[in-house]
């Protein structure tokens, strides 16, 4: 009964997502599967797509782990060294700042001569870290605050040093937070386009040209078959990534209880 009474709160969201996202996405599949051209074969011969997918893969494989690690280390330092309120505020506040309000600031930085020779991807990466470390920080901080301290103390008494305790005891115990932090960072990495668009415009340096830039241009050109093929590939990539993240989290949870 309780289960059904909750449905009235969830249903509007389900309908919203279905009508605004799922249904249009499914309908738009006709451009991929029922168009005359071979969308998938075309897209893989498109240089823009290849560059964007390569940049996206490099970006995600470098900066998502970095966001997770920095978030964990900052949360760890907050918990153990009692970082000041101002440091904590500096980490958390960027998540509340709208992209457009700081785009001018980052545009100035990116345009400075000191950054001329730096790969644009790293500039985007820096902006990504600035804007999303707050999320991973909060996730790990909550997890660390709720931990059973005596388990770490037992490890110290057993002869374990700080690093060993972190890797052998703490990280396995906070694996659920780790999975959540990876998911949230993945989600945020897809959102970073809003920020790069506001800062660098439609045509950023090719080194920071990512899959969202590509999809945006294809939408503008109304090249719907290429757009949908790219979206399908991106979706498949995200699903595969999420599948592995959730499976490893689930595997660990089962391992803890057997």
């Amino acid at each position: 009964m309780k289960k059904y009474s909750m449905m009235k709160y969830i249903l509007p969201s389900i309908f919203g997502v279905a009508f605004l996202n799922l249904v249009p996405f499914i309908i738009a599949q006709k451009y991929v599967f029922f168009s005359s051209g071979g969308s998938f074969t075309d897209i893989f011969s498109n240089m823009g797509f290849i560059i964007s997918i390569k940049n996206t893969a490099v970006f995600m494989s470098v900066f998502i782990p970095l966001a997770v690690i920095i978030g964990f280390v900052t949360a760890f330092l907050t918990e153990y060294l009692k970082l000041s309120f101002w440091v904590q505020a500096a980490v958390i506040l960027p998540i509340t700042v709208p992209a457009s309000s700081v785009s001018g600031f980052f545009r100035e930085i990116a345009a400075s001569s000191a950054l001329e020779n730096i790969n644009g991807l790293f500039i985007v990466g820096f902006i990504f870290l600035w804007s999303c470390i707050g999320y991973t920080y909060i996730i790990f901080l909550i997890s660390l605050k709720n931990r059973d301290k005596s388990i770490e103390e037992a490890a110290y008494l057993d002869g374990s040093g700080t690093l060993r305790t972190i890797f052998s005891i703490m990280l396995p115990l906070h694996s659920e937070a780790l999975v959540l932090a990876v998911i949230v960072s993945t989600y945020n990495s897809l959102k970073i386009f809003r920020m790069t668009y506001a800062i660098f415009g439609e045509y950023p340096d090719y080194r920071m040209f990512m899959i969202q830039n590509f999809l945006h241009l294809k939408l503008k050109e109304l090249s719907l078959d290429t757009l949908m093929a790219g979206a399908d590939i991106l979706l498949a990539f995200i699903f595969i990534l999420l599948f592995f993240i959730l499976r490893s989290g689930r595997k660990h949870k089962i391992k803890m209880s057997l």
């Binding site: 110290y156 008494l157 002869g159 374990s160 209880s257």
Partner: protein, 340 residues
């Protein structure tokens, strides 16, 4: 040699709370000492300072012949059994026990031999490959003990380890811990708020209140000769009856088993109370606890179960001179009969 000396130890927490002030304690090698007292009296703080999990704000912590204030917990060769067991949840019992040995780079075969040996002593062979989440409270307790024992430490610290298991198992574990102490021949320091545990397990008991040891002696001496009203009230179940004599500004203490019910008062009695009405009777096996109301004064008498009383009826209570403890009405310290 694992003699422990705490000398003028003070502990002030970052929030300003002073848990201990100039606290001194000497625990002899191979002793089973129980620290007992109410919550917040500082007993766990002492344990943690000895383990190195808390830093003493001032004073010396000496183990054997070395000052260990600046020695890391892992280098003190101390094992601790925690109240919530603190087993590593992602490791099975075998891995929990092997963890400290692996850190010491002991070979796999030797680790296995040691674990099987300890598992045999603690009768946990059948749970060696189970994760802590699947174990009962008693099994977790044994696994935690196994992890503590396997390191062959100089000192064992126990932080209320039996408080999360049921009463029947607790009694059994008490006996097992006493036997374990005899078998291992090392120093045991045991913290509890349960006076029954303290009385049954400790070779010596330190009764604590507000960061100060009120009395440290054998269980028998503490029970028979409490040095103040706090110790008298804290040790013993049910607790000692207290009767205030406002004229002399003293408080008389009588253990429930020394408070007799009789219509005929013996000659050597020094305390007799008339018109004590029975409020309630509790049968606790071979004995009964009878709750009396003597003109507003609440008293408990512990009598053999064959003594018959009727609820609501009035009885006469008495106590022998030698069984009365006298305490100062203000300071609560013990007064000796000759001085009264």
């Amino acid at each position: 040699m694992a003699e422990i000396i705490l000398k003028d130890v003070t502990k002030i927490y970052p929030n300003g709370f002073k848990a201990l002030e100039d606290f001194s304690l000497k625990i002899t090698d191979k002793e089973f000492l129980v620290l007992v007292g109410p919550s917040g009296c500082g007993k766990t703080t002492i344990l943690r300072i000895i383990a190195g999990l808390e830093e003493a704000s001032a004073g010396d912590v000496i183990i054997g012949d070395r000052r260990v204030n600046d020695v890391l917990p892992k280098d003190r060769n101390i094992s601790m059994v925690f109240q919530n067991y603190a087993l590593y949840p992602h490791m099975n019992v075998y891995e929990n026990m092997a963890f400290s040995l692996k850190l010491r780079k002991i070979g796999k075969k030797e680790i296995q031999e040691k674990i099987l040996n300890i598992a045999g002593i603690l009768e946990i062979e059948d749970i060696l490959y189970k994760k802590p989440a699947t174990l009962s409270g008693g099994q977790k307790q044994r696994a935690a003990l196994g992890r503590a024992i396997i390191r062959e430490p100089d000192i064992f610290l126990f932080d209320e380890p039996l408080s999360n298991i049921d009463a029947k198992l607790r009694t059994q574990m008490r006996i097992e811990l006493i036997n374990l102490h005899k078998r291992l021949g090392t120093t045991f320091i045991y913290v509890t708020h349960d006076q029954t545990e303290a009385m049954t397990m400790g070779e010596r008991i330190a009764v604590m209140k507000d960061g100060i040891i009120q009395q440290m002696d054998t269980p028998e001496n503490i029970y028979k000769n409490p040095v103040n009203i706090f110790t008298a009230g804290f040790i013993g179940s049910p607790q000692m009856n207290f009767i205030k004599d406002s004229d002399k500004n003293i408080i008389m203490g009588v253990r429930p088993e020394k408070l007799k019910i009789s219509s005929v008062e013996p000659e050597e009695s020094s305390l007799s109370l008339d018109q004590c009405y029975v409020e309630a009777v509790e049968l606790i096996g071979s004995e009964k606890l009878i709750y009396f109301d003597c003109n507003g004064l609440k008293l408990i008498s512990k009598v053999p179960e064959d003594i018959q009383t009727i609820k609501g009826n009035s009885y006469k209570l008495y106590c022998l001179k030698k069984d009365i403890h006298y305490f100062d009405g203000e300071k609560g310290e013990k007064l000796y009969y000759e001085k009264i």
